[in-house]
Structures are given as C-alpha cells and as structure tokens.
Symmetry: D2
Subunit: 330 residues, 4 copies
C-alpha cells in the first residue's frame, strides 16, 4: 500500500484525490493546499489529513506525491519531492521555463525517483485503442497526423496572462499527442496564429487560434489546428493517415440518442470539457502510476516527455512570433 500526499485541492486535485482513494494499492494520507477550507473539505471526503508541504514530504510513510497545484509551484515541489525520495506524479507543464524544467529533470534523475507527467490523453480509451491498433500495423506506417483541438471557451484573460501562452498552455497536450502517435521527433515547426475570438487575448499578447505544422525526422507530417472557443463544446479529435489506411479518434458523446425532426437529424454534442471527456483517462493514468510503482516498471509519460512537449511549444511560439518555420533538434 502506497501512502499518498496530494498537492492542490482544486478542480484537478479533487479528481486525482478520488482516483487515488479508489486505487487498491494507494491510500490518500495528506491533502496540501494553500487554501485551508478546500484542503479540509477534500481531506474529509476521503478520510485523509490536511498537512503542510514539509509535513507531507517529511513523513517517511509517504511513498508518492500527486502535484495538482498551480503551474508556478510545480518545479519547486518536484525538487523537494525528489530530494525527499518520493515518487512524483505531476500535472503538465513541468514549468513554463524550459531551463527550469530541465533542472527538474536533472533533480529527478539524480534522486532516482519515478516522475510521471500527467499527459492523460495517452490513457483515454479511444486514443489508447487507436494507438494500439496503429502499433499493431492496422494501417501500415503512419505518414500524416491531423489534430483538431478546440476548447468550448477561452479562460479568463487573467488566466491567459500567466498561462505561458496558448502553445505552452493548450497545445502542449497536442505536441505530446504528436510525439506519441507518430513515434518520431520534430525537425521543423511552423506555427501561424490569430486572435479571432476576443481582442482582450491579443491585448494580453496571446492568440486564440493556431495552425501548426511539424515535419519529422522520418518525413512524416503533422498539422494541428486549435481554437480557444468552439460553440459546440470540447472538440478533441485526431486522425492518422498511414500507408494502408487511416485511423480516426472521434469525440465522445454523453448519450447515443438521435432525434429526427422536421429540422434535422440530431446527435448529442460532445462531452462538454476535459473533466467529463477525460474522466476515464484521469482514472487510468493514476492507476497506471500506482500499478507501475507497485510492479517496479517504468511509467509511460516521463519528465523527458514533459520537456520535449515544452520544447515544441517554445519552438511553435517562436515560429509564430517570427513568421517563419523553426528548425528543432529534440
């Protein structure tokens, strides 16, 4: 049984805490959050205890930490947890600054602790089934990946101002999908972008709509299109075209009801946002983390993956600013 401290009692922290509580090999021992009442409520819901950072990390009974607090706390917590010899499960991104992220990686490696970065999409039933079928050769060798990634609506501008920009905040997931699905690394990145949904985003120095193209070492091509706003909800699709066919990952609907009326034939909109859409993925990634710790096997999404996605995000941001393709060697 692995005793766990969860850092962050917000939206994602609650999900992780519940999944920890449900895992047969894990036990939620501590909840840590700067906001006391949130920490208390989450701890109470799972029979855990509220603690400070030091208390949680100094408790030798704690075997693993789950970091779901705000991005600016990740690096420090990784350093401290690594130093304390705890296994680490951390939300993306490692840090908004690549150098600081690399220092985290060095610390983790030096400490020899497991560190999993939470790219939950790799654990989604649809996405992981597609990946398995691709690896099984169903469509031959992959050649082109098209990723569509749209949020139902932009976050508040205050969030955007500290988000690191759309490439690090939103597309980082898509960059990880790219690396995972094509099983290849980028040699060049081109990013175009516009601010089309809200001028306040442009005022914050950011964009809300992007079109990224990546070329890989093997000559494979990837196109990513993203928007901060889709009137119809959360749009998370991709398709991979290969030498012998194509595999598509579609959106997930809450129900299979179809109506026929004088207006049209209507299907459900997709699951509204990531908390619903990736509900099973969140459970599966936590399960994978504790299963791997228990079995002593590697985790599937490492801090190295986290840094490579970040490097792609930096390259894309630079390409967008400079209006030119950027060569990368990752």
């Amino acid at each position: 049984m692995i005793e766990v401290a969860v850092f962050g009692a917000g939206r994602i922290g609650k999900i992780h805490a519940a999944n920890v509580a449900r895992h047969p090999q894990a036990r939620l021992r501590y909840v840590v959050d700067v906001h006391g009442p949130s920490a208390q409520a989450l701890a109470d819901a799972h029979g855990a205890t509220v603690a400070g950072i030091d208390e949680a990390l100094n408790d030798p009974a704690v075997g693993a930490v789950v970091i779901g607090s705000s991005t600016d706390t990740h690096a420090d917590l990784i350093h401290r947890a690594a130093a304390a010899g705890k296994a680490i499960f951390c939300e993306k991104p490692v840090d908004l600054d690549v150098e600081r992220a690399r220092a985290c990686q060095a610390a983790v490696e030096k400490a020899g602790v497991t560190c999993m970065i939470a790219f939950q999409r790799r654990f989604d039933p649809t996405f992981s089934s597609l990946k398995k079928r691709l690896d099984d050769g169903e469509i031959g060798s992959p050649e082109v990946l098209v990723v569509t990634s749209r949020d139902p609506g932009a976050p508040p501008v205050s969030y955007i101002q500290s988000s690191g920009g759309i490439f690090k905040d939103m597309l980082i997931h898509d960059f990880d999908i790219f690396r995972w699905i094509l099983d290849d690394e980028a040699v060049s990145v081109h990013a175009a972008g516009s601010c089309l949904t809200d001028p306040a985003i442009a005022d914050a120095g950011d964009i809300d709509t992007t079109a990224v193209t990546i070329r890989t070492r093997k000559g494979r091509l990837c196109q990513i299109n993203t928007s901060r706003r889709a009137a119809y909800g959360y749009d998370q699709r991709f398709e991979v075209h290969g030498s012998q066919g194509m595999l598509q990952a579609g959106n997930v609907a809450p129900t299979q009801v179809v109506s026929h009326t004088a207006a049209n034939i209507a299907h459900d909109l997709p699951e509204h946002f990531f908390l619903q859409r990736y509900r099973d993925a969140y459970a599966a990634e936590i399960a994978h983390f504790f299963d791997a710790l228990t079995a002593g096997t590697p985790v599937r999404t490492t801090i190295a993956d986290g840094i490579k996605a970040l490097e792609l995000a930096e390259a894309a941001a630079r390409s967008w600013r400079e209006g030119q393709a950027v060569a990368v060697s990752i």
Copy 2:
C-alpha cells in the same frame, strides 16, 4: 447511513455490492450467499461480513436488502425482508409465477416497505435521456415503438430449462421498456417465435427468436424483435416514432475509433454484454434506491411494474403457444 445486506455474491451481486459500497448514504454490512467462499470474497472486498439470511434480516441495524440471488429465491426473500421491515431492492423477475409475484406485492404493501424491482435499463444514460426528451415533447405524442433486443449468445440449455422461457427471462426487460416509454398499457399482445439458433433450445420447449406486437389503450403500437444470439454482440436499441418526429436510442461503443482501410470504414462493435453495457445504469439504479430511501420519496420501478411486465410475458407466451393474439387487461 443505511446499513445494507446483499443477497447473492454472483455476477450481479458483485456489481450491486460495489455500487452500494460507493454510495455515500449506504454501507455494505452483510453478504449472504449459499456458496461460502463467494460470500467471503465479496465481503472481504468491501469490508463487510458474511452472514446467513436470518442473521442479516434479524439485525435491526440493517435498513435495506439487495436481492441478487437466483430467481427461485426472490419471492421467499421478499416475504421475509418485508416481514422484517427492510426496504427491498430486488432483481427481476419477482417470480416466474405471477400469482406468487402478486403475493409478494401484497406482502410488501402490507408491510409498508419500499420495494424496487431492478429494471436497470430505465437508468441507462441514453435511455433515460431519450425518455426525458420524449416527455419534454420533442417529438410530440408517441405512436410507435420498435425495440430490438439481442443477446450475444444463448445461455446454457440448463439455464434455459429453468428460465421460465424467453418471454419471462429475456423480454421482461423489453416489456418494461414498452410500458415506460409509451406510458400506456397493453390491450392486446401477439407473439410469433422460432427456434433458429440451436435445436437444443427447442428440445427444452423454448424458442430463441421472437417477434411481438402490442397494441395499447390509446391505439399506440409496439413491435419487439429479439434473438438469443447476435454475432456482433449485445444489441439494445429502440426507437419511438411520434407525431412530430422520432427518437432513437443506439448502442454504446467502447471507443470512438474509426478505421478506413481497403476493406471498409469500420466502427467498434457495441459493448459486449449487459455487465459492460449497463455499467452506469447499475450504478444509477442503486443510487436512485438509496437516494429515494434517504429522501423518503417513491422509487421509480416498483413491484407493481415488475408484475405488469410479468403479465405481459405470460400473455406473449400464451400467444406464441396458441398462434393467436391475446387480449390483456393490465
């Protein structure tokens, strides 16, 4: 907090026990099963205790029982649980014999206890969403219901011999869907049937393929087609045609992967069988039961519903045997 005894530690008992354990207002106290090791394993999994029937029913702390044992035990357990003043959640059918089922209803009413019959399909997200939209008037007044209900494969003949026949064993769910969706009662039932999948089923006096037509008081029409075997898995669809449109409830797929190859465009088969297909429905029906007990509100599927579905099954069986439509007054 309602203390609960679960009767039956088999396939469905395990599901109910896990859902009881997960409900915030319920606590699994006892597991009862004639097969000791099964009872012990299930009790251990949820921190409960193995008990005999009397022990469980005589414990005044127990507020509710969940009956998931074999059909021939239902009536006796309902009588005893009602006499003990326990709220009852019982798998369908109440009993294979309508008279015995009616006696159960009388006992429940006399005791004044809640008794919910587990027609889990009413709690399925797709089906209940369709029902709500129908009630909201999206397609006007319902006129025709077409139900397709096919199992992936027939159970062993030994099961069929004691099943009460396909109408009571398999179509009982479809008869409940009919009453629920059309919100109306039958005036006549016609059933045709054949044994097409396995001659051993005919030898057991049963059929595996049926085509039922029901006409209601309001002149609405319902057609049900069923088979004990579908090569492609579990097929659970229905559509209701109304004065202003149609609503369809489709099958549920495990993933949203679509492949395009030289052969075809291929989608996932449906969830394989009821344990997967109705996973959410099983959780929702248990939640409804304890929510209703906690709130003191009625349950949505009563023992009266269980008996009416049984009466339709008897009428259909008679129609099939006699080759003629049967008038019913339910």
Copy 3:
C-alpha cells in the same frame, strides 16, 4: 431498338418516359394519357407522339408498353397489351382485386409476353447491394427482417378512399421487400393498426399506422412498421439479422454536410419522398426491363411477384379487421 408507348403522363409517367428516352435500346414513340395537354407536353419533351390506346397498341412497331396510369386502368391495359403481343412494364399494384390480377397473369402467360411489375425498390443501389451481400453469405442465413416504412405525409383522403387501403397501397412494397430479402414465403400474417394521424382516414375506413408480423415456412420472422406520416420525411429502412451478423439499409441524404452548433450535431434529413429517394432505382428498373428484353432473359419482378404481394396485403387487411393472425399459403 425497341419502340415504346408510355401510358400515363403524370408524376411517375414522366420519370419512366425520361428513363425510356435515355436507354440506348429503347425509343419513346407514343405517350398516351386521357389528359391531352399532359400527354402533349411529355411527348414534346422527348420527341414522341401523342396517341390513343388503340393507336399505340395496334402499331406493330411498338415492342413494349410502360403502364404508369392510374391503378384502375392497369388490368385492362395489361389484357389489351398482352393480346397485342407487347412486352409490359406495369406499375404496382396489378389491380386492387386479387381475382382480377390473377386473370391478368393468365392473360400474360397465355400471350407469352414479358410482364414486369415495377417494384423499383429491388433496384435501389442500397437495397440491391444489401441483397447481394446477403446472398453472398456475409451474415449467414437470414432469420429476422425488420422493415420501417414511413411516408412524409398522408395523401388526400380522396386518394385514400380509392387506394384499396394502406395494406394494398403502401405496404405492398414492403411485402415485396419481405419476399425478396428473406427469399421465403409467408405461412402466417398478423397485422395491428391504428388511425393516429388524421381522423378523416378512419372515417374513410382506413388506418395510417400499422404493425405487421409475418412468419415464414422456414420459421423466419418479419416485422413491418409503417406510418403515413413522418415529420422528418421519407423513412425507408430495413435490417436483416442473420446467423452471422446483421445488414442494415439506411436512408439516403441529399448531402453529407454535418453541422456542429450550440444546439446539436445535425445531419441532413433523408431525401424527401419517393421521386427523389428512388431516382436511381427508377432508372435502373427501366434499364433492367429493356436489357432483359434485348437479351431475351427473364425480368426480376414478375406479375407473379405482384400477385403474391397483393395476397399478403389481403391477408394483412383481414388480420387487422379480425384482430387475429391469418394463415396463408402462397
């Protein structure tokens, strides 16, 4: 080159005339219609001549007639065309009276002329592809057929009064689909029905909503549900369940546009009615007729098929009136 006389310059006559004109082995020579201006307009459109019945049938150059005039004229025209030795293509039904239809069959057989009854659905690309795949064994042996057949709206009551009733007027197509797809003959027919869309239809002694069940010699089952009115348009689907799978024939949409908005994910309604839905089928059936005449091979839908569908319609009507299943030997 086969010279052709078309009888009837109405909606369906125009379609047939255009398809005759397009066929490389046929030439439209005469148009016959009691309404002179309609006949003239249609003849002009294709460089043909207006003629009376006798003139058309007495012209030895005429090799074939296409009968698309009103139902009450069919039998007489078949008799006269057969006597004149012309090949006959006739719209369904042969006649509303089975005895008169049988007399037509006798006349045709005595004359030794080809007589094709226009069950165009057998020539629909979707339906005929399904049939071929069924015959090729893709789903093993067929066991259950479910037919959904709904018109966008009821015809005028004046039409219904002389239509022969819904079973002969509307379901006759579905009875032919049943015989064609299951490749088997009925042993019993049960029909339930209601008048739900317009009381004037009941006043005319007819119904607008039916639910028919047929059992075949081989024990196969067929369910047909029909309505005179579907708010969403023309609904023409069927599915056949077999020992190794299921084949479904879906509706045809005018375009493949899908919209995602805040309301829903919306697809096109089906093609509105039979003139659009069966456009390709009408062309294919005429092509088949002239191809068969040219090659000296049999036509695929004979007058015997027309009579069998009519017999099923009579049986269904009787079942509906009497409220009981009807044994048939066809």
Copy 4:
C-alpha cells in the same frame, strides 16, 4: 440553343460531352481530338461531327467551346477561342505557367468572351450546400478551414513529370476551395512536404504528401493536408470552424448499407475517384455554364479564379522548396 465544340475526347471530355448533350440549351456539334478514333466514337455517341480545331472555331454557328484536352493545349485553345469570339469552358489549370495564364486572361478580357474555369467542386451538392449554409450565417464568421484531400493512388510517374508538380496538379483544387469557402485572400503560405509513397516520385523532383498552411488578410487560417495515395479510396473532406459552430463536408458513399459482424460495424468506402465522386458536380458545372450564357449572367468560376489558384500553387511550391513561409499578395 447553343452549338458546342468539345476539345478532348478522353476521360473528362466524355463526361463533358454527355452533359452538354443532356443540357436543354446546348447541342453538341463538334468533337475535336488528335486521336481520330476517340473523337469519332464520342461524336457518334451523341450524334455530333468530328472536326479539326480550325473547322470548329471558324464555324459561326458554334457559340461555345469546352476544353478538356491536355493541359499543355489549354492556353493556345483559349487564345484561339477568344479570338473567335466563343464562350469558353476550360478545365483547370489554365496553364502551368502563371505568365502564360495571365496572357490568356488578358486575351479573354480583350475579346469580352465568357471564360469559365472548371473548378467542379464548387458545384458538388455537399460542398455547395455547405457554402450556402455558411453564407447564411449558420456558424457565424468563418475562422479556420481544414481540408483533407487524398487520391486513391498516384498517377504514373510519366504523368507526374509533366504535371507541374503536386501543388499545381492536385492542390490547385484545394486552393480554390480555400478561396471560395473562406471568401478571403492569402497573405502568407507555408508548405511542408515529403515523398512517402513511392521513391520514383522523389526522383521526378516531386512529393506525394503535403501540409499547407495559409493565413488570410482577415487573419483566418487554413490547413490543407494531401496525399497522392489513400488505401481506402478518394478522400475529399473539409471542415470550416466559425464563431458559432462548425460545418463539415464528408465523403460520399455509393450505398447506405451497414454491416454488423463479429469483426466490426462496417460502412461503404467513399466513391472511388473523381469521376464517380463528382458526377453530379460535373453535370452541374456544365449546366451552370450554359444557364449563365443563356441568361447573360456571370459564371461563378472565372479565369481570374483559375489564376489565383495557380498563384497559390506557385507560392506553396516555393515555400516547400525554400522551407520557409512565403508572403503573397493576390
């Protein structure tokens, strides 16, 4: 009635000739082709006459020409037809050389004749329905266009060598779709590409797989992904994301048969290639041309459109060669 000369009796010439013959305001008078037997066969099929270029263009009865001969003949035929005062319908591209194409435009404008470039996709029922719904405001203002365009298989390398390269030969249609759907002009173009399907294509100096990004004056973004080979057939989809939703244009299937077997749920592959996929579009574009000539109204796809698509193709080819985005002012 407009008398027509068709240049080119090959694959596309045959389609155009048949559609000319079917149009009520057009009459096919001449077929011109360097290969005599092909010209004769096509002329015979429609009751037309074989002629040389001069004969056809010098006949004052001829009102319009349809140019479906090889690309290298287009410019010369346009010049001569314009000089002869004939209305011109010409296959894309105008010419592989932009300067020569501009000279054609000048000649056409000087002569004051109608010149339609055959971007048939604008006349496809699905695409034109989408465009109309977009113009009607169904999804607000368009922001992002994603175009997927894949051929079933690459043409012979001999064809590729004289094709002008993938951007002018294949993507020219997609560039026209871009301009038409977004109703905007490019300010920058970035193209990545690879040769993944056949090394012989690389040896010919071309690529078979591309990923293009276009940014418009209004900041809209377009991504085009193309491949010369799709194992599953001809893939012609696009989707436009707007401020209030998304519209998708899907592939067209030959039938609506769906099979369920133990393997999967399978749908038809798309129509195999452009001759089938755009059958209705080819008919509609010819009809539009003659309708416009008859009514004296402008044609919807002019020689200016042809040149702008060509300019985009040149910019994309340059971007691909130089590995950098290219600024354009069209």
